[in-house]
């Protein structure tokens, strides 16, 4: 497959739609429990032992809303590159945090899809899963489609 053909395939509006819906749905689902229970999510953020205590509550309160807004924007087809940049950056941070704890040999609750301690898995499996989620994020970021399919109508100048 030539480079041009691969690039054309990656920029396909239908592949982009698939990535948008996949990533958007994943993050919308992931943020709900954390938005409802920021106190429990704060405890999970603390367990990672990476952030100073003064930043635990701000992160627990704001991060799920970034996930929510970006998820909505991706599904709606607005500001796709900005949303995917933010989500990809967050995924990269999650991967780094999981890797730090995996290297320490700590089994901490993930806090990925729920704010309960029951959400604990092997950190290497979680890293692999996040790397998988990173693929559509990077694709949306670096191979933007000139045409956006299935986009909720919005004033043209705001839509990307």
């Amino acid at each position: 497959m030539s480079a041009n053909r691969l690039s054309g395939w990656l920029c396909s509006p239908y592949l982009q739609l698939l990535c948008r819906l996949f990533l958007g749905t994943i993050f919308l689902y992931a943020c709900l429990d954390k938005i409802v229970h920021p106190d429990r999510f704060a405890e999970i953020v603390f367990q990672y032992r990476i952030l100073p205590r003064s930043l635990i509550h701000p992160v627990a309160l704001i991060l799920p809303w970034v996930e929510f807004i970006c998820g909505v924007l991706l599904i709606a087809g607005w500001w796709v590159r900005s949303s995917s940049l933010l989500l990809s950056a967050m995924l990269a941070v999650f991967i780094a945090a999981l890797a730090v704890n995996a290297a320490r040999g700590w089994d901490v609750a993930c806090g990925c899809f729920s704010a309960t301690a029951a959400d604990t898995h092997n950190p290497w499996v979680l890293i692999l899963r996040d790397l998988l989620f990173l693929i559509p994020g990077l694709l949306l970021l670096f191979f933007p489609s000139p045409k956006i399919v299935f986009s909720i109508p919005f004033p043209r100048r705001i839509r990307r």
């Binding site: 938005i35 920021p38 106190d39 704060a42 405890e43 603390f46 205590r53 003064s54 930043l55 635990i56 509550h57 701000p58 627990a60 309160l61 704001i62 991060l63 799920p64 809303w65 970034v66 929510f68 807004i69 970006c70 924007l73 500001w79 590159r81 900005s82 949303s83 940049l85 933010l86 990307r160």
Partner: protein, 157 residues
């Protein structure tokens, strides 16, 4: 690029606004830059100060009439070993157990609370609850049961 930054800024501002609004309008409201892990003393609890007793003071005072030692640990730990003469008032069962020891507490001239070791918050929490209940002259023995045992002091079972 400018548009990109603008969009990201708008998303972040919206997320901050939503997070703060949710925090202050819907409970539980979290204190923005102060996180206390479950079990640890909160900033408000730490602000309540008590004089402290060291091992030597506890040893001397425990043999003095009028001093009452109060073990803040769970009943099972108390039964496995406690400082001689101490009564058990676990912070987790304060409401139920307080009436049982209230008479002794009110009659004592000095109360010394302790729990497991330097890191446990229960003796401090218990001291706060006792002060709220009107008990005065409370001392904290922070070394707790661990220091007591490590220094070879007598243990009652």
């Amino acid at each position: 690029m400018k548009r990109f930054l603008l969009e990201i800024s708008v998303i972040l501002v919206l997320a901050v606004a939503a997070g703060l609004t949710r925090n202050y309008l819907v409970g539980p409201s979290l204190t923005m830059f102060d996180f206390s892990p479950p079990g640890e003393l909160t900033r408000e609890e730490k602000a309540v100060q008590f004089p402290e007793a060291d091992l030597e003071m506890v040893r001397t005072m425990s043999q003095t009439p009028g001093t009452l030692l109060v073990d803040a640990r769970e009943p099972l730990l108390y039964e496995l070993g406690h400082i001689p003469g101490a009564v058990n008032l676990p912070i987790g069962h304060f409401e139920n157990r307080y009436p049982l020891v209230q008479k002794s507490l009110v009659g004592a001239s000095w109360i010394i609370t302790y729990c497991s070791d330097l890191t446990c918050p229960d003796s401090h929490r218990l001291a706060i609850r006792l002060r709220e209940a009107g008990i005065a002259n409370i001392l904290l023995y922070r070394g707790g049961m661990k220091e007591w045992q490590d220094k070879g002091q007598d243990v009652s079972k």
